[in-house]
Symmetry: C2
Subunit: 305 residues, 2 copies
Amino acid sequence: MTTSTAIRGLWCATLTPLSNDGGVDHARFAAHVHDLFAQGVDGVALFGTTGEGQSFSLEERRGGLDALLAAGIPPARIIVATGCAALPETVVLSRHAVASGCATCLVLPPFFWKGVSDDGLFAWYARVIEGVADPRLRMVLYHIPPVSAVALSVDLVARLAAAFPAIVVGIKDSEGNWAHTAALLERVPQLAVMVGHEPHVPRLLRAGGTGTICGVANIYPALVRALMSPDVTQEDEARLATFIEIAFRQPFLAGFKSMVADRTRDPGWLAVRPPLVPLSEPARRALRTALADAGLPPLAASQER
Amino acid sequence: MTTSTAIRGLWCATLTPLSNDGGVDHARFAAHVHDLFAQGVDGVALFGTTGEGQSFSLEERRGGLDALLAAGIPPARIIVATGCAALPETVVLSRHAVASGCATCLVLPPFFWKGVSDDGLFAWYARVIEGVADPRLRMVLYHIPPVSAVALSVDLVARLAAAFPAIVVGIKDSEGNWAHTAALLERVPQLAVMVGHEPHVPRLLRAGGTGTICGVANIYPALVRALMSPDVTQEDEARLATFIEIAFRQPFLAGFKSMVADRTRDPGWLAVRPPLVPLSEPARRALRTALADAGLPPLAASQER
């Protein structure tokens, strides 16, 4: 296995904070990433699902990356989710990420079309790679059918890995279906297999996977880090399972933002871009109470850590 | 009912021809639209589902409209599908269509996010309207859950129609579910209700709907026009049903392009953009044979009509 360190370990699928005018808040964004690094995450993935990536324009996505780089975040610790519904725009964002020196591009399949063939998806990814036309491109395929409604079959992944061995270096499997993850580990062992579903992390690492790109790391990186230890305990796993159960009682993304707003004491973090809606005050209180009742670590203000 | 003529009648959801380099072929595009007008369609809808709209960049979508206008197509006979996954890009395309004098904008809901609330979708559409900030904007909502995987509930449509009575003027219902169409006609009679599913056209017109924006009009406008007559016969309806049954034996969009390639004797029409794939030669032959066996009108070359 020649997996680079770039796609190994604990990567946070970062939330994207908004400013009062509804755009990406660059200062909050950089502060959040610095805070995640201070808490020990290995890197961040920008503008994925948890980052509301598909709700932002190309310009906003490029601008968000540029702002983090300007704030001193090393590009080698940044994965950029560059997939768009349209092929040419996926090329534009991927070229920008590569030119910026970022670790890899995380690429969704084109998600408007449903029920398309593996041949069509293969051609789409091949055209993206040809369009970027840069040998520095490293691509992580992004499998998240519960949201995208377009799955990447194991056959397709194997075909892409074989056709572009220097470029297609990994897959983020966010289906939460262990059978699919296991099939990937078996069939394409040369790829870095990362999961999005945190409870699968211990099993993944034992089976040869390389880590996680996940949303829970926005809130409790230490909880996820514990799962990555060879000494992970049943208690660690139970704590994470409890957190996830609570986090999915409401729309998870608005819930995550509410938790960061609490931790940072910054209500600006509550904003989500439509069609998502922020949590109501009663929902926020219920969430806080549930976390406290479950004995999860308090969401201390950042500066108090 | 004060529905303008702009959203009434037979509108063709036009296919988008590609050039050798994979971009939108402006000359073929304009020729196709002129041909449709010569065959009696009232107007065209650009870059919807049948137009592979989500496969093109903003620039390509704006460029395609500009090219048709430059070729003398009257903007009042053009509906532009301006919906994008991202809100700011939907605003950009809608502003361009409005500034160009086009009849209306046809707007998909944001289709990456699944299971979102009516509140969230309402906020999204409201932000699009506020973002366009032009009283000339006329919007037709685009309900096509079999592809978008995001439905527009009758409640949401009624709420948008009530909140923006001068702007939200219609809905294209492409679900193919008569119960939903009937509920729209009952609940929001002030809207122009158009269907995408051609077999519903006679029933729709009898029930107060205003027409169709449909893909079959790329191939057989006269077949659809016959359905719009008060004297529509069972034979007319049977012919359309037969055509649709045959057209959906293969991916319909590649099949439609194959039929236009036959009619125009221009194999350049076969190209689709990935992740769609063109029909194979055997599939094209089977399609031709099926149409001939069904006694459907021959696909004569345009210049022979």
